[in-house]
Symmetry: C2
Subunit: 279 residues, 2 copies
């Protein structure tokens, strides 16, 4: 194969494995790199040209941090939202400074102060947590901030117990929503149709289940905003082809011992969260 | 039901839903909270008593940060490792200060300097990334640090392209390992048996696939260190009962268009990563 044939093959966007092996056999690193750049540019152009895919956008996405939230609730959706070319993500501080926020053994730096968070959000996102979420429910300023930013948001969203913060802000009355499985009973007592599903849509309210449900949640939102094929590309990039080593991810699948252990260990927190919605 | 019967029921560790509803019908918040505390303490004691579960430990876990790593590669395992009571997690800075490290649109604060990272690690963990991982492969000091800390580590581990950093440090020669699917061919060219599996064990080397494989990876390690039921409790807490909205999480499941888009978009990076292992 001569150089011209090789170029044609590479530019044609053949799948990567044959491209690499052909390139390695015949070309220097610099040649391979030049070809790979061309292949990449073509892939971007081809992707942009597909009907139904919205490659560029200017969505404003606010993800609210507060002490003690679960980093995992936030970071999986953040990885997926961060793939939205042109979109802007605001990691909003719970205060007026940019002090790192503790998030379950890991500290994350906010990018914006509350006063810098736009009103015309495409996505308002609230992560969940345990004791930190209870304390956030008790923080009137924080709850008022959620309510204010929800007023004009295109989508009002949460993962895990983040939905209890939406409930506390009065945003889930009469709505269908989900939460971490241990808190569904609580949600149901305060005027919400609590549903045990991975992702629940009700109008502009989109809620995800516990922690890892944030992946399914964010892929659904990405598909709604940028098209299903965009979401599939990011799913493949994230290699989201789950293979849980055990079958214990849901209370109806786990053994009664495992299920009761989780529910009972969290009982004090759950009683306190319920009390917080009563008051 | 009188108070004594109620107490007996609560202490018996009945599942949460009946507990909450009984409690709410008859007791004040303070009474409910006291009962819930007792239920929680009993659940912890019962859990600790189960054969095969190691509730407390003193594992030392180092998770290495470097500019441009994928936060999602790190945070899912961190959530799971953080459940290991008594274990200590070192989020190790790539430098001798504790400046926040950029991780794909999110900044994470290291907890320890390189000089503070122990040698006798139970887990050495390397997250993956894209351009940031290439730059880390080119950072001789960082590669030497990985090699040094691997020398006495009980488990040498990675998620996603983190395995290319292990390869660069010479730790995967003659070993079976996995990586992000786009980089398996590269790994295979440099003396590693590259396997397309979610989690791969070879002696004390445990590697996970792309990004979200970190969940499966960490649950397997948790089970090895603390027992399967411990891992199941954390799986249920993380509600890891995945329901991907699309079937595109693996190159053999995604459409050829989606697969080629990802492979071709990343072609320049892949050529550069391959070159880095050659040199």
């Amino acid at each position: 194969m001569n150089r011209r044939q090789f170029t044609r093959l590479a530019i044609a966007g053949a799948s990567l494995a044959p491209f690499i092996s052909v390139a390695q056999a015949e070309a220097s690193f610099e040649q391979r790199k030049t070809q790979a750049d061309a292949v990449s540019i073509k892939a971007h152009k081809d992707f942009m040209a597909v009907e139904g895919i919205k490659m560029m956008g200017n969505e404003k996405i606010a993800m609210l941090l507060y002490p003690g939230f679960y980093a995992a609730d936030l970071v999986n959706p953040q990885f997926i939202f961060n793939s939205m070319m042109g979109a802007k993500i605001y990691l909003v501080s719970p205060t007026e400074d940019l002090t790192p926020v503790e998030a379950g053994g890991i500290s994350i730096v906010p990018t914006h102060r509350q006063s810098e968070c736009p009103d015309d959000l495409d996505i308002l996102f609230i992560p969940g947590g345990a004791m930190g979420t209870l304390k956030a429910m008790q923080n009137q300023q924080f709850i008022a901030f959620i309510k204010a930013k929800a007023a004009k948001a295109k989508y009002i969203t949460s993962v895990c117990t983040g939905s209890l913060l939406l409930a506390k802000a009065g945003l889930l009355k009469g709505k269908k929503a989900t939460s971490h499985w241990t808190t569904l009973d609580i949600l149901a007592k305060f005027g919400t149709t609590a549903v045990k599903e991975r992702v629940v849509w009700d109008g502009n309210i989109v809620t995800g289940g516990g922690v890892t449900a944030g992946i399914d949640f964010a892929l659904e939102i990405l598909a709604a905003l940028r098209g299903q094929q965009y979401a599939e590309v990011i799913q493949l990039q994230a290699e989201y082809d789950p293979a849980p080593p055990f079958n214990a991810g849901s209370p109806d699948k786990a053994s009664p011992f495992v299920r009761d252990t989780v529910a009972n260990m969290f009982a004090p927190l759950l009683v306190s969260m319920e009390h917080e919605l009563e008051t």
